[in-house]
Symmetry: C2
């Protein structure tokens, strides 16, 4: 027993969303059809429009509606620094912190040989071309901490070994407002290893 074919197809389609199982998908489909047809139409339209209109920036690989994204073409930004992140949402998080004024390069993933993701898949060649064209003085590695993220950062740092570009990595340690008692051991080790002299 099932709903009508169209409702079944809608439920099945909703399951492609991350974190949505069959029960949630059913709830979403029924809510849209019973109570919120306006939003359903809007969602359908937004999906089509963004599929048609959103591609990737040819320079930094970020999601963009133009060939080159707004951050890359912004002349007010510091063109001497590139920050390497894994995903557009990492980029967004850094943008929202408001403390970085350089440009980005979005890997759209991290090295993961077991899944067949090598340097080519994450656009390392594009990154090197970008670095060469932009004549930067610093490359900030802001990949996620974790085995794959760290390996990706190391790989990129190795590639630039011997060049005169300063390669840095963002700090890992205790989050601001975090309490030592609730922080995991690995983070604490990083925080201890990354200690700095107290400045007056």
């Amino acid at each position: 027993m099932s709903f009508s074919p169209l409702v079944d197809e809608l439920i099945e389609s909703l399951r492609c969303l991350p974190g949505v199982g069959s029960k949630s998908a059913q709830r979403m489909a029924l809510q849209l059809l019973e109570r919120d047809r306006y939003s359903a139409a809007r969602l359908s339209k937004a999906l089509t429009a963004s599929l048609d209109g959103v591609g990737r920036c040819q320079q930094c690989q970020n999601l963009a509606e133009q060939d080159i994204c707004k951050i890359c073409t912004n002349e007010r930004r510091n063109t001497g620094v590139i920050c390497v992140v894994e995903t557009p949402s990492d980029l967004m998080a850094i943008e929202q912190s408001g403390n970085f004024n350089g440009r980005y390069f979005v890997l759209m993933g991290h090295l993961s040989p077991i899944d067949g993701i090598g340097p080519e898949e994450i656009g390392i060649d594009k990154l090197l071309r970008f670095i060469a064209e932009a004549s930067i003085h610093e490359l900030i590695l802001a990949t996620n901490s974790g085995v794959e993220g760290d390996a990706t950062a190391l790989y990129i740092a190795d590639l630039l070994d011997g060049s005169d570009i300063l390669v840095t990595k963002i700090a890992h340690g205790i989050p601001v407002g975090g309490q030592l008692g609730y922080v995991d051991g690995s983070t604490l080790s990083h925080a201890l290893a990354g200690r700095k002299p107290v400045e007056d």
Copy 2:
């Protein structure tokens, strides 16, 4: 700072889904655009198709692609019994239990005067017409337990008071496999009040 206008609109549209906040919506939008454009196109199509094709059964108010739904027109079903439920997913749950062979009436909600939902909004007039036309002998009330659901059930039962239709209500008690120690007091009270003599 935000993503491009199209991506922002997609994120905003995804927030209409129940249980989806701004962070989840962002995650969904980026996943669809970065990795799963095929599913996004499928979802958009399914939304449009079901908005165009799915309406309500004119007899039982269930979601249906035809004027009268498949359950109402199924000649193998017992036409003498109608089970009143609040939503299509309640109907589906009873169908999946496989123990009911009558027809349904879907209220699409429950009486809730404070939200402006009276007998007309949940289609009580349609229910009475359906009952009269179908010449049933039993009406099963399967509204959710809770103040509004119980009030709705009582209201319908009152309307049929004096007719020769048997009005019943599904049993509330301990779930099968449930442990007494973990069941809430209200359910236990219902279970005790609804006790039955042990049959040999």
